[in-house]
């Protein structure tokens, strides 16, 4: 997957030679030991979204706190997924950062493009599938958390109808919808998930309206894969259960939030920067989850019945132990066709390209 080609290495060496001649303080080649690493982060939303980008920024702060003097960080927020991203990433690479973390799916191609132009800078892209000789990728197994949410939804829903406020039909989101629905149907075989696409990662007013539209259709669980707490607030007003996204959002919905999937990127960032410091950074494809502690569930809401708490905890424990995987067959798709045979797990490569919906998903 990672190709190393000779020309790339030579240009790398040549530019390194060039900068040492003019005495530029810039980067040592990736691989050399470093005393200090300068790390940059690119966020798709505002760090004040109290959701995905906020959680990413908590990861950056964790990194600073853990490594102290050995790292300095900087970030750019509100970067739109498109041509503008390339400009921002290039600027960060030029500014002497040793490593640039680009934290949203849509930054994948811009990151790849810039990575080719800056062979001495390390790049890590989140939630995508492309890599290069100086670009790794990382992801969190969010779907493990979705399976916990699905279990809770399946057990607590009276109508057997769950609503799902979703952003874009990319593999990441499809995976979440499927995991949620599979887990819910494991406890309630009649459970259905109604999906509404809002075509945005962050648009509080539209997210709230989407949740309200779902509620008026009779769903009594709200799940979301958008970044603001707005759907959760709508659930709180309507008195139905819901789940926080990327961070513990209890404050917005003390009654409604049963739990939340909490992104905990810090340990990964520390690991990457440590590798740079030690001089053995290599592009990796990292896909960690609950076991590696980059994904946690927020404390169960005390309003959650005891048997539900137990069932949810069991999913968490078995996921950590590696004995439970929501994507284990038999799995039927939306049309009822058997897609995954009994006892077979969907392999990671297929999950990362997942574009079909399981039985029980509606509105897609």
């Amino acid at each position: 997957m990672f190709e190393t080609n000779r020309r790339g290495l030579l240009t790398g060496a040549a530019s390194l030679a060039a900068v040492s001649v003019v005495g530029f303080p810039a980067y040592a080649k990736i691989g050399g030991k470093k005393d200090k690493v300068k790390a940059a982060f690119v966020y798709v939303g505002p760090v004040g979204d109290y959701g995905y980008s906020f959680a990413q920024d908590q990861g950056r702060k964790y990194l600073e706190q853990k490594l102290g003097d050995k790292v300095s960080t900087n970030y750019v927020e509100n970067v739109s997924e498109g041509p503008d991203a390339e400009r921002v990433i290039r600027q960060l690479a030029q500014a002497g950062n040793d490593i640039v973390f680009t934290t949203s799916f849509g930054f994948m191609n811009p990151t790849l493009k810039v990575a080719r132009q800056f062979p001495n800078v390390a790049f890590d892209h989140a939630t995508g599938y492309k890599t290069a000789k100086n670009m790794g990728n990382y992801n969190s197994r969010f779907y493990q958390g979705r399976a916990v949410l699905g279990t809770i939804a399946g057990m607590m829903s009276k109508t057997g109808k769950g609503g799902y406020v979703a952003s874009f039909p990319i593999p990441e989101v499809v995976m979440g919808i499927d995991a949620f629905t599979l887990a819910a149907r494991a406890v309630n075989p009649k459970f259905t998930t109604q999906v509404v696409w809002v075509n945005s990662w962050y648009d509080p007013a539209k997210e709230a309206e989407a949740a309200k539209a779902l509620l008026s259709q009779g769903v009594d669980v709200i799940s979301q894969h958008t970044d603001s707490p707005a759907p959760l607030q709508a659930a709180e007003q309507a008195g139905v259960i819901a789940f926080g996204q990327a961070w513990d959002m209890t404050k917005f919905a003390p009654k409604s939030q049963m739990t939340a999937i909490v992104d905990h990127w810090g340990p990964y960032y520390v690991d990457e920067v440590n590798r740079l410091l030690a001089g053995d950074w290599k592009p990796r494809s990292v896909w960690w989850g609950m076991k590696e502690d980059i994904l946690e569930m927020a404390p169960w809401n005390p309003r959650m019945p005891e048997d539900v708490q137990k069932a949810a905890q069991k999913i968490v424990d078995e996921t950590k132990a590696g004995t439970y995987d929501v994507f284990t067959g038999p799995i039927k798709d939306k049309s009822g066709k058997l897609r995954v045979k009994d006892g077979v797990k969907i392999p990671d490569e297929e999950l990362l390209k997942l574009d079909w919906y399981v039985e029980g998903v509606q509105g897609v």
């Binding site: 004040g48 509404v196 696409w197 008026s216 607030q233 897609v364």
Partner: protein, 308 residues
């Protein structure tokens, strides 16, 4: 369609339309006086954060709404000084105001991220406001009624009051208005301040009613839709009302039909409906006798320098 569903849909439409309506009416008055302020989005954000901060601190959402208006007007005053007194380019200054508003609201709002506040909720007694059917009339935030009343007020002001006539004269021909002795700059300042106050009020609708919280870029570009609505309505308050509710309806129906699981339309087509509707209505309006071009105030966007 069931009654509760119909009630929910109507209420969603009003909720989506109200901030657009209030902000667009403010901008309409500004443009009628011959000033183009593209900073609506920025002023809305400043209003949203101020409204939230004051409501959270005092515990009185209504006070938050008043503060939001004041903050919006203050931001508009900066625009006024730059474009009216110092005669800076209005388009550039308006855009700068939006960028400024986005930044300063994020800065001021940082301590308020992650908390929630009391909702600026219904004013009628609970028997009416929570009634399953009657809430379609009585169950709204006061701002929804303010929006409707404001439409009538702005229409009456422009059409039937002397002050409104002067304001229109200033917007149509500043030289002539000045020659007769009307204070062109003073009129424009007042209009700009009013527009700012309305944008601030529209902004706090998001942070106090729709999603009672503060988060950066909370209004997510609605200020631009408000500006477009003014053109869409060819500078007539009644059409602003229709346009805002039409836009609200299309946005709501898009989500409702997805939630209901209608699959005979592709979701992408539904998502494009608000914009298609805008184009269709614009085409219908400009096909009429009074096209958008002739309906615009003649002095729109032109700086005024008093000749002595």
């Amino acid at each position: 369609m069931t009654v509760p569903l119909a009630v929910a849909i109507v209420m969603s439409i009003a909720a989506a339309a109200t901030p657009l309506l209030i902000a667009a009416l403010g901008e309409l008055v500004v443009e009628k006086s011959g000033v183009l302020n593209l900073g609506v989005e920025g002023m809305m954000l400043i209003g949203a954060v101020t409204g939230f901060a004051v409501s959270y601190t005092t515990g009185v959402p209504a006070l938050g709404a008043v503060a939001a208006m004041a903050a919006g007007a203050l931001a508009a005053l900066i625009f006024g000084v730059l474009t009216l007194t110092l005669m800076a380019n209005q388009v550039a200054t308006g855009l700068a105001l939006t960028i400024f508003g986005t930044g300063i609201s994020a800065l001021l709002g940082a301590p308020y991220v992650g908390i929630t506040t009391a909702v600026l909720g219904p004013i009628f007694p609970a028997a009416l406001a929570d009634h399953p059917v009657l809430k379609v009339v009585f169950g709204y935030s006061p701002l929804v009624y303010v929006g409707l009343a404001l439409t009538v007020a702005v229409w009456w002001f422009l059409k039937h009051s002397r002050a409104g006539l002067i304001l229109r004269a200033v917007g149509e021909s500043d030289e002539a208005a000045h020659a007769i002795g009307y204070p062109v700059l003073k009129v424009r300042y007042l209009a700009v301040l009013f527009g700012g106050a309305m944008a601030g009020l529209a902004g706090c609708y998001y942070s106090l009613v729709l999603t009672p919280m503060w988060a950066e870029r909370l209004t997510a570009g609605r200020g631009w839709i408000a500006i477009a609505l003014v053109v869409f309505a060819s500078w007539r308050p009644g059409w602003v009302l229709i346009g805002a509710y039409l836009f609200g309806a299309v946005m709501t129906l898009e989500l409702q039909s997805k939630a209901a699981g209608f699959s005979f339309f592709a979701p992408e087509l539904l998502a494009s409906l608000p914009y298609l509707a805008t184009i269709v209505v614009l085409a219908i309006i400009s096909a009429g006798r009074k096209s958008a071009k002739t309906a615009a105030p003649a002095c729109l966007g032109r700086p005024f320098r008093a000749s002595t």
